[in-house]
């Protein structure tokens, strides 16, 4: 089965890939020199989102979202504040259920199943689709118990010690904590805490990892470590990341969705998906003027 291949280099695009350079006035985005090459293959769709709207009571927070998330890719959602990125993200693991009055219209398909079907078990959804939060939130327990919590509550079979070690290795934290597994998770630095949260998320062997601005509370070095980690994680997991940081989205993601907020005639803000495409397209030659304005810094 032939896969369409779009190969691009995440790096200085205007030199190596002239086709990606914009041919209209507007400038291009300097993406920095990272030099990683990722093949963006057309893998199967893990999520298919059709015209999704999210309501809090009568207030339509986000509307008209249609996109798909493909396996083992990193999909980024960017946009200014208040445009609904986190709201949409939280739909993927049904965390919005926890907010009273929240409801969705439209459809999210997880593989072939309607994520919001009537007999879907939200608890199982959350095991398969994990989440890392903006502010690291380790439990007030030991590092070991933090990572072991997921397998324990999900009654996963196997050797717990090995599962914990595997998860901590996968989160690039093992070497730093292997001698102090019994100390409190709260004693770690911010960046380490966030990697601990990643470790406990992957300990339950999810298929998807959702990341809600995972680096916004961290310093640049910790941020870089986690961005490196994301590339490794994408080998095994499918990642969706919400970020305020455009450059981060350009650095790490394969596909990008750009959201914006629009004000209707009554003066009420609603979030809306503007454009969803390969990251190279969004940052190189976006189709929508609003996207171009945002990434070139004219607004947002």
């Amino acid at each position: 089965m032939a896969h369409a291949r779009h190969t691009y280099t995440v790096g200085d695009m205007s030199e190596s890939n002239p086709a990606a350079a914009p041919d209209h006035d507007g400038g291009s985005v300097q993406l920095g020199h990272f030099g990683r090459t990722r093949e963006v293959r057309e893998t199967e769709a893990v999520f298919t989102v059709e015209d999704l709207s999210v309501f809090y009571g009568d207030y339509e927070a986000v509307r008209g979202t249609t996109l798909n998330v493909r396996k083992n890719q990193i999909t980024a959602m960017i946009g200014p504040s208040g445009c609904g990125k986190s709201t949409v993200l939280r739909c993927f693991n049904r965390m919005n259920d926890l907010i009273p009055g929240a409801r969705v219209a439209g459809k999210i398909l997880y593989h072939d199943e309607d994520l919001y079907g009537s007999d879907i078990d939200a608890v199982e959804v959350r095991r398969r689709i994990g989440m890392v939060f903006q502010k690291p939130n380790p439990f007030p327990k030991s590092i070991y118990d933090n990572v072991a919590y997921g397998p324990r509550v999900n009654k996963m079979k196997g050797n717990l010690d090995e599962m914990v070690e595997e998860a901590l290795i996968g989160a690039a934290l093992w070497d730093e904590v292997k001698d102090k597994l019994k100390t409190s998770g709260l004693s770690l630095s911010g960046g380490q805490q966030q990697r601990l949260c990643i470790a406990r998320t992957i300990a339950v062997k999810p298929e998807v990892i959702l990341m809600d601005e995972p680096c916004s509370a961290l310093d640049p070095i910790a941020t870089a470590k986690i961005e490196d980690l994301m590339h490794d994680l994408a080998e095994k997991y499918t990642i969706i990341i919400v970020t305020h940081n455009m450059q981060q989205a350009a650095r790490v993601s394969d596909r990008t969705a750009f959201f914006t907020a629009e004000v209707d005639d009554q003066g009420v803000r609603h979030g809306r998906l503007v454009e969803f495409d390969l990251t190279s397209t969004i940052f190189g030659k976006p189709n929508d003027k609003r996207t171009e304005d945002y990434i070139t810094g004219r607004f947002g």
Binding site: N72, H111, L115, G117, I120, E124, K157, G158, M163, K205
Partner: protein, 317 residues
């Protein structure tokens, strides 16, 4: 080591299988049921109180007219011939409550203003526990204190005429007042600390003194909470039993003089109820009738207090 997940895996190791649940999580449902039941216990308590009060009260009023009960001036239910005018009990309750409230409201409010507006953190840390201790002392201890120390003290220092009798309403009222201070003070202080600092700042910036800010800005802003505190204090005074039973004695007639013995509703219930009364007897019903009156009065006051608290919470929180 092989980790076997519960469901079949795809090549990437992530388990597949439907997200649908074959059967609902029964454990969670059972838990929810148990928790709701526990929460309903409190409702059952109220139902129980009402349920235990109504039949004997109804039976009581089948024999004693409302008129005799509420306007009769002689309370001698356990005597023969019995008289069932509840006025002596009401008057006793009223007099002692007024004395207690005259002590508790000013002192409680001032203490609250001091703690909220004046006291430095160190001072607060010393005084707040004192108030908590005062609140935690059993009322029987207060009663003892009233009878054994306060009454002789009053008798000793009384300047004119006959001082208080051995059992008198004044000592009971005064001691009860101090007992209620923590109730009034803590609720009033809660209300005052809910007032936003910006209101105070605005007044200070105009050159007001602390006294003016306290009395003209904070107290009016917290007024509904403060009134709620007062109402709650009154309600506690009405419902207090041990202090009056021990220190205020029994009197079968209407007596407005706090220097003499007086009997409250609560004291009657305690004394009559602690004997061994056969259920079928009328005396049993009398106890319940008075208790019903007591419950009705405090219920109304509590409802008022709760509504007032809600008012100030809505405004500031």
């Amino acid at each position: 080591m092989t980790v076997t997940a519960e469901k079949a895996s795809t090549a990437s190791g992530a388990p597949r299988g439907s997200l649908r649940r074959s059967r609902p999580r029964y454990g969670e449902l059972v838990v929810r049921g148990i928790l709701l039941t526990a929460a309903l216990v409190s409702i059952l308590t109220t139902v129980g109180i009402v349920y235990s009060l109504i039949p004997p009260t109804v039976a009581f009023f089948q024999q004693v007219s409302f008129d005799e009960f509420f306007t009769g001036t002689s309370w001698a239910p356990l005597f023969k011939p019995a008289s069932y005018g509840v006025l002596p009990l009401l008057v006793g309750t009223l007099v002692i409550t007024v004395i207690a409230v005259l002590v508790a409201i000013p002192l409680g409010l001032f203490a609250a203003i001091y703690l909220s507006e004046y006291a430095r953190p160190r001072v607060r840390k010393t005084f707040k526990p004192m108030l908590e201790i005062l609140a935690g002392i059993p009322t029987v201890v207060y009663g003892f204190f009233a009878l054994a120390l306060v009454t002789p003290l009053l008798r000793g220092i009384w300047p004119v005429g006959d001082g208080p009798a051995i059992f008198n309403g004044l000592a009971a009222g005064l001691v009860m007042g101090v007992m209620i201070i923590p109730t009034v003070a803590s609720l009033a202080e809660d209300a005052m600390s809910a007032v936003p600092q910006s209101l105070r700042d605005g007044a200070y910036a105009l050159g007001s003194t602390r006294m003016i800010v306290s009395l003209r800005v904070v107290v009016p802003a917290a007024l509904s909470g403060i009134v709620a505190a007062f109402v709650l204090g009154v309600s506690r005074a009405i419902g207090e039993t041990m202090i009056v039973t021990i220190a205020a004695g029994i009197t079968p007639s209407v007596n407005w003089n706090p220097l003499q013995a007086m009997s409250t509703m609560t004291a009657f219930i305690a004394q009559a109820g602690s004997g061994d009364i056969p259920v079928a007897s009328f005396d049993y019903k009398t106890v319940f009738a008075v208790a019903a009156l007591l419950f009705a009065i405090t219920f109304v006051m509590n409802a008022m207090s709760i509504r007032l608290v809600r008012k100030y919470r809505e405004v500031y929180e």
